[in-house]
Amino acid sequence: MIVGCATTINPDVQQAQNLFDKISSDPVVASKAAVALAEAEDSLVQLKQLEDNGASRKTLQRQSYATELKTKIAREKANSAIAKEQIAQAENERKQVLIEARTLEADVRTKQAIEARIKAEKALIEAEEARKIAEEERKKAEDLARQLAELQARPTERGMVLTMGDVLFDYNKADVKLAGMRIVDKLVAFLEKNPERNIQVEGHTDSTGSDQYNLNLSERRADAVKRALIYKGIAANRINAIGYGEEFPIASNATASGQQQNRRVEIVISDEKGSIAER
């Protein structure tokens, strides 16, 4: 690319030569502005010829200036070509980023859709489980109601209460008769099916006889029921036996039938936590 080897002394020619050497040594200018650089080079060759031919100072100055302008044009065209390449590259990059953005958006939508479906399925399963639990509760309540009906227990403020009448005990004795044992068997079945429930066996008498005698008799009758239950396999700590004597009549002691009603054993069934309200 270096044109001419002769050392020049004209400062204008020297300046044009220096500028051309500097710019043409840039490989970017050589490759991106080849035509413009060739035109500058032609101009420089002409300048050298004019110098060699002893052209006037003014002519050399004009030709030097033309060479410099052409060299600068070549440099600007190279700059322009680089900028255009950067634009093309950036356009591509922008397309890539936009594609990435759309892909991400689609991913997020898919993820949200999957999450929503999982949530819906979970809610469905939970609803089904809740339904099953409610169904079980209902069945349990139904079973309990049936069992209590079988026991002929009646609801009271203190819970379900079952009454064993006087006829189930021997007169003035504490032994449970055979008919009474049928109720004991039912009670055993109930306690086995409902292990969370306990019972309280409460003995009562009429007002005939001394208080002490009646208290004693009611205790012995309650104990007899407790013993029978233990004998049938119910744990002793689930049964509380108490004698109340003549303290809590349910009918008038003035008549024989009233007295008979008052002679009884009441069995109070606990709540599901095993506790029974005090009398």
């Binding site: 200036y65 033309a66 044009i73 322009s80 950067q86 634009i87 922008r94």
Partner: protein, 102 residues
């Protein structure tokens, strides 16, 4: 020697084209120089110094071409910068979105 009408109108045309490309903003010094040289060419033509007029016309043409080349490369640089900026802000937004949705 013929009067260099053709060369003078060619440089006048190139100057006009450079102005239309935006040389007044992007290459004001080069444009001004080309216009001054063209005036000298016209003055020489009027004085019937046709050789001087031709030389000035040719120089004015090259100066106008340089003004054009500078204008083009400057506006290309501005455009390239604008796209790069838009990509940068797009990427920033994308990053924010990614962090938000992770």
């Amino acid at each position: 020697m013929e009067p260099p009408h053709e060369e003078i109108s060619r440089s006048a045309y190139t100057i006009k084209a450079a102005e239309e490309d935006g040389a007044r903003e992007l290459a004001p010094l080069e444009l001004r120089q080309a216009k001054k040289t063209l005036e000298k060419a016209r003055l020489a033509l009027k004085n019937e110094d046709y050789e001087e007029a031709l030389n000035y016309a040719k120089t004015a043409e090259l100066e106008a071409q340089l003004a054009q080349a500078i204008t083009e490369s400057a506006s290309n640089n501005v455009a390239a910068q604008a796209i790069k900026d838009s990509i940068r802000s797009l990427k920033r937004e994308l990053d924010r979105y990614q962090i938000k949705t992770q």
